[in-house]
Symmetry: C2
Subunit: 651 residues, 2 copies
């Protein structure tokens, strides 16, 4: 049962594809304070809140505040409030003590909105708008006998997913292992990576090209110096069974003669500043203009550009910097330099010193810059901040819509950093620039249910962590979790310790783990496709499956993956195991490789589970089964799930 | 059994007070590579390493690298390598499988030294020197029948503690609750805090004065505007049973007519730049000189200044910014401004932009600044970086030595931010500028054993977190842990959410928790004094007490506190309990207040322990007892431990 309500004059976002009749009045159960632009509701003392896509903190979002305003935020500390996505769907689950009922709510507004879920006052839920213009969708449980046995929370999620349209389905090869680095600088570096993986026998399906493959960071160019014959190189890799996946950035370099820039100017495709000229900011290429992806013909124009790389044989892309990230705006930088002059003349006191630090530190992703340019959207001129959260969505939609024209019969890989609900129909996401921290391994586990709820099924974190230096133990544990996520990609930043799996001492363990991944792919991919087609969640917390078990509600580090298995990853340093809670009896299979494991039935309740680095505990649900393939070096060599009969684990 | 070895030409640090004969040759069990200035040792696959004082990551330090170079580092993320202290003592504990033996090692060198404990290579321990000049002390187990039943690790620690001298003993009132803020700006704000605590019935013993009590951040001054009659105000507070504890910074403001500055110049007390003039840097007061605390007569001069505040009735201090923190050096700032001019003229490309950001971001605590000034130390002129880690130690020693002269019969409170072993004889420490993060609550638990090993028994973290915004639940959990730490102080930064306990909704729970602290003080203080006098640890991980229990070695979140009790704090959001491992049967007392609790015997093994916010589980060891006092509003009203007989809990 879904009802739709209106607050103010909402901007249409295209996130909901089903037509839903507008109900009159305010969304029931919430109070709206017009002056404070705030919806509020008292929470039951034991209520939990789930959802919100890619965000900080735990699976249960209660106890913090979250700001939906897509942010280029590489410091995913628990004190932050925004990450890359803005995904405003949540489910509220009260305890059974009070008289509140479970419900889902989607706050469809493309501007900034804050969800204070017991931060300011531990028992209050507040939705605080920048501009109180939104559609809110209230989703209540359906008393649907044909519910496939799914519980209330899952039925709420399924109803929501139904109205936002079917999730993007990635190709099976995208479930293969991907190796990335900012950046492999030329053909030889890419070849060396491919060779080393083949030499160590670690399966691999893709190598990612970060920004340096381009000619001076110009979208849809390839450096001729470093990749002198790109189509031939793509084809060489393809012949080895390897896909190259280039990055595409949101900003278009301002450069006379660069065709994308020239076409953008000629076609009036760029966002405008207050005076109507193309807005200028700086990102990787230096000064850029941003395409106005909110315009349909700009999407069509930009989308067509992917064809160049697809013509060269490319069949996968990642869209980046599309919050959009802004290193600085030209106008503000000039102001800062003027201000700097005044510091120089006077004796810098401590107050001015902090001001100076703030000026320079505050150049990037500055709120005022986001208020200084304009879109044309559905016939209106709108200031960017009002539609900020649609930007990455529509960049990626541009690509997704183009793929339907360019390659209607194939399934290209596409994922994005920024997101808004609706984008899930076109692409997956990765969780952005995390760090090589144990706490970020846990975060990457905890982010999956919220993403799945919002339709993002193809998702994953940078395995091993993007920033900072990984250790071998952290990498082993991260890979041991990552083998279950659709996107399974090792990525790291310039200047950090090299972390390709073949660079560690214990490549034997790395190989066994990636082999186990390949053995799992038939199961994972079929469950993934099914989840997309049936509007279900691939990753589900225990509380979604055992709603009446209060202990299940407190479990923040175990996930069901598909219908048959549950995982309990180890995410602490020097651990030799971890605690696990089983809501019911399950079969434990402790894998050291696809063919080396021990099995044991564990009773419902609490267990300390031994799991040395390199050991992967998998729990098989009673009455379910997990079939593994024999591992291969490329996904293309894998059979389908229902062809498997050799390695069958029964719960 | 302690042996002392020499590498190069060590600088004496005064950290070891017992005379130990020098053994010839290199420390056995380690290889020394002269070219790499590195000591290295292969670690047993299951070996653990403990110690290193205030550092990031877990109790077992294996799996990361740590740099001893006292740092003003408010971002205590797991990717950092240095915090405020440099405490180079550790214990190595191999598994019983190999042929290695347990030992302790103290690397006594006042310059930068890195401990790579399985970071670069998971099985190698490397001690990497900046300058390979050090004494190393190798401490092996004593086969001492008179060991008081203590285990091997503890006997190693005790031997080490014996040679570094008895730990500072804080007054009992310092175990009372302390309320701090950067800053209470004037008398009225302090009074309001005192009034609000008294009104809500939450016990309190001290209120801290952060930098704004001073006249423009000048050490040993008090703002006449904000504290017009300071001695009268101190006395007013003392009459209410409250101690005021002012902060003292390392840098002395450069200001004509300011007597401390003038005396420092006249007495030649400041560190010198390369040309022999006083080195100028900026900290809170703007431009400052740093006293050369490494000189005995400078220590005597600076120490005498505390007398002014003591004459006004002050009996407690915290020494801050003594790494020393440097916001910028005058010389380098001039260079940066010159460089900025060159950016302005050219069109700033992305490369120059990052350079600009780095220039400004890198002004603070810059390594090159630490290489640009000089000390006079034991008759030598030494560049600062070579003795960096002695600076905070000797600032605090200046105060401690002065107190022995000024108040020989009393026990003033003194603690410091920077530390080096040796300072533990003069003062305690607080763990510096943490954040209001759940992960920092865990960190504050994990830092205690390492601190205790190095002699720092009077220690604690900023309860609720210094930076960032705390939530009520995090504060309740942090207080629930903090009631066991000697320093029990709520402190937070300017600009963050106010976090005095009376500001939350549930002041009733806050009151019960602080009351429980006061009920515990007789136990805690007597165990603390005993630990100091007997060279023991107040906080001990399970692995120190149950060396032959491999499960105990993996427990990173349970601590013995004194001889009778073990604690297992809850440190995750929305938790209703946690797992606990008991190496042997223990009595659980789950306190809701000193007089409201339930008791239960728990068997050895794993348990899921229910603990709602506001519930404090305490485990009493078999055959031990815990006696509680009836809570009072001030520590002065508390009886001694052996006078207690009403609330007795027996294990």
């Amino acid at each position: 049962m879904i009802r739709k309500y209106r607050i103010g004059t909402p901007i249409e976002t295209d996130s909901v594809v089903e037509k839903i009749k507008l109900s009159s009045g305010m969304v029931p159960g919430w109070e709206f304070d017009e002056k404070k632009k705030t919806l509020s509701m008292r929470m039951d003392a034991d209520a939990a809140v789930y959802g919100l896509g890619v965000q900080v903190r735990g699976i249960n979002k209660r106890g913090w505040h979250y700001v939906s305003f897509c942010a280029d935020e590489p410091h995913h500390e628990e004190g932050k409030t925004s990450l890359y996505g803005a995904n405003n769907f949540f489910v509220y689950v009260p305890s059974d003590k009070g008289d509140q009922r479970r419900f889902g709510m989607y706050v469809d507004t493309p501007g900034r909105v804050e969800f204070d879920i017991g931060f300011y006052n531990k028992d209050m839920f507040q939705v605080i708008f920048d501009e109180a213009d939104a559609y809110t969708y209230l989703i209540e449980e359906e008393d649907d006998p044909d519910n496939n046995g799914a519980s209330g929370i899952l039925s709420i999620v399924r109803q929501f997913r139904r109205i936002i349209g079917r999730s993007y389905i990635a190709p099976r090869w995208a479930f293969g292992f991907g190796q990335s680095r900012w950046s492999y600088m030329n053909e030889d570096e890419v070849r060396e990576v491919a060779d080393a993986y083949d030499r160590t026998g670690i399966p691999l399906d893709s190598i990612y090209l970060d920004i340096d493959y381009m000619e001076r960071y110009k979208d849809f160019t390839v450096s001729e110096e470093n990749f002198p014959d790109f189509p031939a190189f793509v084809s060489e890799m393809k012949n080895r069974g390897l896909h190259l996946v280039p990055i595409i950035d949101a900003g278009v370099k301002i450069e006379k003669g660069y065709d994308v820039y020239e076409e953008g100017i000629a076609g009036d495709h760029f966002v405008k500043d207050g005076k109507g000229s193309p807005f200028t900011a700086a990102v990787w290429p230096g000064r850029v203009h941003f395409p106005d992806f909110l315009k349909e013909d700009t999407r069509r124009w930009f989308g067509e550009k992917y064809r160049r790389l697809m013509d060269a044989g490319i069949d996968g892309f990642w869209n980046d910097m599309n919050e959009p990230a802004i290193f600085y705006s030209e106008e503000h930088l000039a102001e800062v330099f003027e201000k700097l002059d005044t510091y120089k003349d006077k004796n810098l006191d401590i107050h001015s010193f902090f001001e100076l630090q703030g000026l320079i530190g505050g150049l990037c992703n500055r709120e005022e810059d986001y208020r200084s340019f304009y879109h044309e959207y559905k016939g209106e001129r709108l200031r960017h901040d009002r539609v900020h959260n649609l930007y990455g969505f529509n960049m990626t939609r541009a690509a997704g819509e183009a793929f339907e024209r360019i390659a209607p019969d194939s399934r290209p890989l596409l994922f994005s950093r920024a997101s808004y609900i609706g984008m899930h129909r076109y692409a997956g996401i990765w969780t952005g620039d995390n760090m090589s921290w144990w706490s970020h391994l846990l975060l990457s586990i905890q982010q999956l249910p919220g993403l799945n709820m919002c339709g993002f099924l193809f998702a994953g974190s940078d395995i091993g962590g993007f920033g900072g230096d990984v250790t071998e133990e952290l990498m082993i544990r991260w890979v041991s979790f990552g083998i279950f996520t659709p996107l399974f990609r090792n990525h790291s930043a310039m200047g950090t310790r090299r972390q390709e799996l073949f660079r560690f001492n214990d490549t034997e363990t790395m190989r066994r783990l990636v082999e186990l991944r390949y053995a799992l792919i038939p199961y994972l991919y079929s469950e993934y496709v099914r989840a997309a087609e049936q509007d279900e969640m691939l990753f589900r917390p225990l509380s979604f499956e055992y709603e009446n078990d209060p202990r299940a509600a407190g479990v923040e580090d175990e996930l069901f993956v598909g219908r048959s298995i549950m995982i309990a990853p180890v995410y602490t340093q020097n651990a030799r195991g971890r605690y696990v809670y089983l809501p019911e009896e399950m079969k434990l299979v402790r894998f050291r490789s696809f063919s080396d494991y021990d099995e044991e039935w564990l009773s419902a309740g609490d267990h300390f589970l031994k799991a040395e680095p390199g050991e992967v505990p998998v729990f098989i649900r009673k009455g379910c089964e997990l079939r593994l393939a024999e591992p291969v070096m490329r996904t293309s060599e894998l059979p389908e799930y229902d062809e498997l009969d050799k390695y069958v684990f029964r719960g």
